[in-house]
Amino acid sequence: MLALLPAGYSAASPPPVFVRDGRLVIVDAAAPRTVTPRDRATRDGEACPPVDAYWGALADGRLVVTFRPQTSPDSAADPEPHCSTHSPGSRAALVNPDGTLDAELGTGVLRAFPSPAGSTVALVSTDRNLSLWRDGSQTTITAPGRISNAGWSPDGRFLAVSAYPPDWSEGAVSSARTTAEFLRLQNADLHLFDTTRMAFVGQLTSDPGTEYGPFFSPDGRSIFYVWLHATEDRGGLMRLDLDRDGGTSATAPATPLTRAGNDAGETPLGRVGTYVWRRSGTQLAFEAGRPDGSGEIWAMSADGRGAVRIAAGRKPQATGDAGVVFLDEKGVPQTVVPEVRR
């Protein structure tokens, strides 16, 4: 099933994990396997609902997953697609590498972000509230707006989040009666949360456009994020360098790394959460979308140059220091060492 793992793959690193057909595919060089999460609290290990997404692993190897949302009676009666006013909430949980369910993180979870140290999980709920799960307890964070997504600093101290206006909601967007109101609700800015102080310590961006999908550089001194202009066809991947004294504010305006698009000199945007680091922070891989909803794996230098399409596929994850493992169009994990053009 697996292609040959590339040189540089570290068995000590957390193995890449994918979701396929509601189950977890653990790409372990020693023992690649597929596991079905099950509840060991029940006598026969009752199967959990199908896994919807895998978000990362804790330090002890437990996997952070969300299960597929339970279908509501309303959605069953109205299967037509439409602007959702209520995102289906998921159940987030920790699953042991053998598939047994270890602990519930919460319900109504939209996205989960385990910290690099593997001790804390940031949870974004369907109504875009932020909470931190740590050692079995969950703390709700008062945020400056509605949280969309987040990224941890390498040391696990800071959490960069993208926040929409406090009155943002899915219903508010689809019910915006004026263009100004609609555009106002598209305004997401980056904020920095300090877990040692348990407080937001700075607003990193204030552009009227949309800044989202933040992730830190491996050295923790820069935040990368996606920026989209509010009304014009401009945007791309940005880098914001932080000051060296605590890293709570920007030292200079953000540097545009790519121009989003498919034309010459442009680079497609990656889906949020798919940017992964390669080669100790000198290169990135990411998943770009295709018109049919499938994905493409791309790689580029950390300065935004040399972007190259690697293959059709989804969910790229780093394999140690060199390669990228991803799901191909048939859902089979594949590995590759991208050659970034310079």
Partner: protein, 682 residues
């Protein structure tokens, strides 16, 4: 009886055997203000616009409200700002009107739901020559495909029907669809996507696969036709016995297109200034509160009582009083539809740009109109068709050479003076007391000689003042007056005195001349709702001073219904009187259920109907299969051959055609739109 059962009932009634023999054609219609955002109208509305913006209250585009509809019939959700059309990813989308790009976003990856998506916003504004129906609009397309926006940047012009985007599922969306919204500028107030003609056109959409449009006979009884699908709605009219109507079934009610003849214009104000039947005023012209605190340097003589029912006055005499305004508030008649609003204004230089702020069911908009009147004026100078003086000052260059020579003397003023030469006649209508100065100027005196005569009737015996060069008539009372420019002299000398001249007529009190009546625009009012027209002092070009105050005048607003077509609702009692024996077919609805092939396999509901390249014979068709259809799918029908129906297909990029066996038709559309030259609007 629920909706599904009703569908089955109608299906049993409308079989292919009753479909008409004539070939069916594409809908013939007057060009609607907005086109379709997609190639063919075959997409389901999966969530409709909420007509009622109030929180917690929902009304879909058919009028169904929260708690009023039966299960499954409320096709909107609270606050929804547009229509959602379910469609596959990558469907081509088109500009519904000419316009320019206001905003776009196209970089969000497909199938990415990270709280923002791709969108395109188009402006349709008079400033760029792309206003729709004389008003500025904005249309929005949401959830678009990555790199799926065609215009490259903001400000790019697009033509109506131009490919502008491709659909997708980006942003807050649970499935591929287009969110299409229309709003009225400058307030950007949201309005239904079925604005104007679209409102009448919704029959083209499949809601839940129900049959759509049929003819019904009202039978021998008289039927009440109501504003909405409930007895709680007002009765619009009563339908006479044996009326034949086009109807759209909607649970226990039928929406019908009323066969009214083209409406006769009916003004809210009669010629005498009275309020016409069906209208009411909640107040007369009323000043803003700030007006009372403003000193009017021109004195009470220049004030005008603005209506027969009120006692307030407004003269806009104080410069810089930007907040000053006069408002004509009224209650709209209990009749849906479009209304023209006309306004008049004292025809002076200040009237070059008068702004009216109109509030109707679509919100509040400002309209700037030129009300200086017709500079040239109408008429020929003859007695039956005098030149019309319609501007202050009125300056005209005419000649008596070749003019009619009918009047030779005047009385009681000017009696005994020979005016045997040809003459021109002018007319003006004074609405307010005014001092009028008339001056004539020409060359060649005394050989050439034009005299002026002021008349209070179109007869030489009605002369109230005359002069060789200039006359001033102080404080002339309101009424109709005439000016005759006649060639002076006896016999042939009078003829020889004819010459070219310049006539100037000035009024000390600016007049709302007939030609200053200007149509502000076309509006819609909710039945019985409050509406208003407001003139704002700050809008008057050039402002005024105390010596020449501009002002609104009594009866300065006319509201005229423009309804040639409308719809209403009649109750379920006509359901058994469906007339299926006539009318051309313009679109068909597909059925794949058991009655199509005689078995009772419920899985047939999910089966597909083949669409062939050519028509067949009987039920046999050896030609290639070019497409498939499923239950509830709707196609535009373009031709018929025997029991085979030619339909338009679409793959999102180009339309082709194919043939479907009539056994699979569960309903059809008639040609609703032919012969319609105007549209009612809710």
């Amino acid at each position: 009886m629920n909706g599904f059962m009703r569908t089955a009932t109608a299906a049993a009634v409308i079989s292919s055997a009753w479909l008409p023999a004539p070939l069916c054609g594409a809908p013939a219609q007057a060009p609607p203000p907005f086109g379709w955002p997609f190639a063919t109208p075959t997409y389901n509305i999966t969530a409709a616009f909420d007509l009622d913006p109030a929180a917690g209250v929902m009304a879909d585009w058919t009028g169904w409200r929260t708690g009023e509809a039966t299960a499954g019939s409320a096709h909107a959700y609270d606050g929804h700002s547009g229509h959602d059309f379910g469609m596959v990813t990558g469907t081509n989308l088109y500009a519904t009107a000419a316009g320019t790009v206001y905003a776009l976003r196209e970089s969000v990856p497909n199938d990415d739901h990270s709280d923002t998506g791709n969108y395109l916003i188009l402006d349709h504004k008079a400033a760029t020559g792309t206003a729709v129906g004389g008003r500025d609009f904005r249309t929005r397309f949401w959830h678009l495909s990555q790199n799926g926006v065609v215009p490259a940047s903001t400000g790019v012009a697009v033509t109506k029907g131009a490919l502008v985007a491709q659909s997708d599922n980006t942003g807050n969306s649970t499935g591929p669809h287009l969110h299409y919204a229309v709003s009225l500028l400058p307030g950007d107030s949201q309005t239904c996507a079925f604005y104007h003609a679209w409102w009448e056109n919704d029959e083209f959409y499949t809601i839940d696969g129900r049959p759509c449009v049929v003819y019904v006979d009202t039978g021998s009884g008289v039927l009440n036709c109501r504003e909405g699908a409930s007895t709680s709605y007002n009765i619009i009219t009563t339908l006479p016995a044996n009326s034949r109507l086009v109807a759209t079934q909607r649970n226990a009610w039928w929406r019908v297109v009323l066969p009214l003849p083209p409406a006769t214009a009916r003004e809210a104000r009669t010629a005498a200034g009275a309020i016409a039947a069906g209208y009411s005023e909640t107040g007369s012209w009323a000043d803003s509160p700030s007006k009372s605190a403003v000193a009017d340097g021109s004195g009470d003589a220049n004030r005008v009582v603005l209506s027969g029912t009120g006692s307030r006055a407004s003269t806009f005499a104080a410069a810089g009083d930007a907040a000053d305004a006069a408002t004509f508030a009224f209650t709209a008649p209990n009749q849906r539809g479009l209304y023209d609003i006309y306004a008049t204004w004292p025809a002076d230089a200040n009237a070059a740009g008068v702004t009216y702020r109109v509030t109707d069911s679509n919100g509040t908009s400002d309209f700037v109109v030129d009300q200086r009147g017709n500079a040239a004026g109408a008429g020929t100078g003859a007695k039956a068709t005098p030149y019309i003086i319609a501007r202050n000052p009125y300056v005209a260059a005419h000649t008596t050479v070749g003019a009619p020579d009918e009047w030779a003397s005047y009385s009681p003023q000017g009696s005994g003076l020979p005016e045997n030469g040809p003459e021109n006649l002018y007319r003006f209508d004074l609405r307010t007391t005014s001092t009028v100065t008339v001056t004539v100027d020409h060359a060649g005196y005394p050989t050439k000689d034009i005299d002026i005569h002021l008349l209070n009737a179109p007869a030489p015996t009605a002369c109230i003042q005359r002069a060789d060069w200039t006359l001033t008539a102080p404080d002339l009372a309101p009424g109709t007056y005439y000016v005759a420019c006649d060639s002076y002299g006896s016999g042939a000398a009078g003829d020889a005195a004819a010459t070219a001249y310049t006539l100037t007529v000035a009024f000390s009190d600016n007049q709302p001349f007939p030609d200053s009546w200007v149509r502000i625009g076309q509006f819609s009012f909710a039945p019985g709702a409050g509406a208003s027209v407001q003139v704002r002092e700050s809008s008057v070009t050039g402002r005024v001073d105390a010596s020449a105050p501009a002002r609104v005048v009594a009866d300065a607003i006319k509201i005229v219904p423009r309804i040639t077509r409308r719809t209403g609702w009649i109750s379920d009692t006509i359901a058994t009187r469906i007339n299926t024996a006539s009318t051309p077919v313009t679109s068909v609805v597909i059925r794949t259920d058991a009655t199509a092939n005689g078995d009772s396999d419920t899985m047939d509901a999910f089966a597909e109907v083949p669409i062939f390249a050519n028509s067949g014979t009987g039920t046999s068709n050896p030609s290639a299969i070019v497409g498939k259809a499923v239950t509830g799918q709707r196609f535009v029908c373009t031709a018929r051959s025997g029991d085979w129906y030619q339909v338009w297909l679409t793959n999102g990029t180009a339309a082709t055609q194919g043939w479907i066996l009539g056994d699979h038709l569960v309903g059809y559309h008639t040609d609703l739109l032919s012969g319609v030259d105007d549209w009612a609007m809710y």
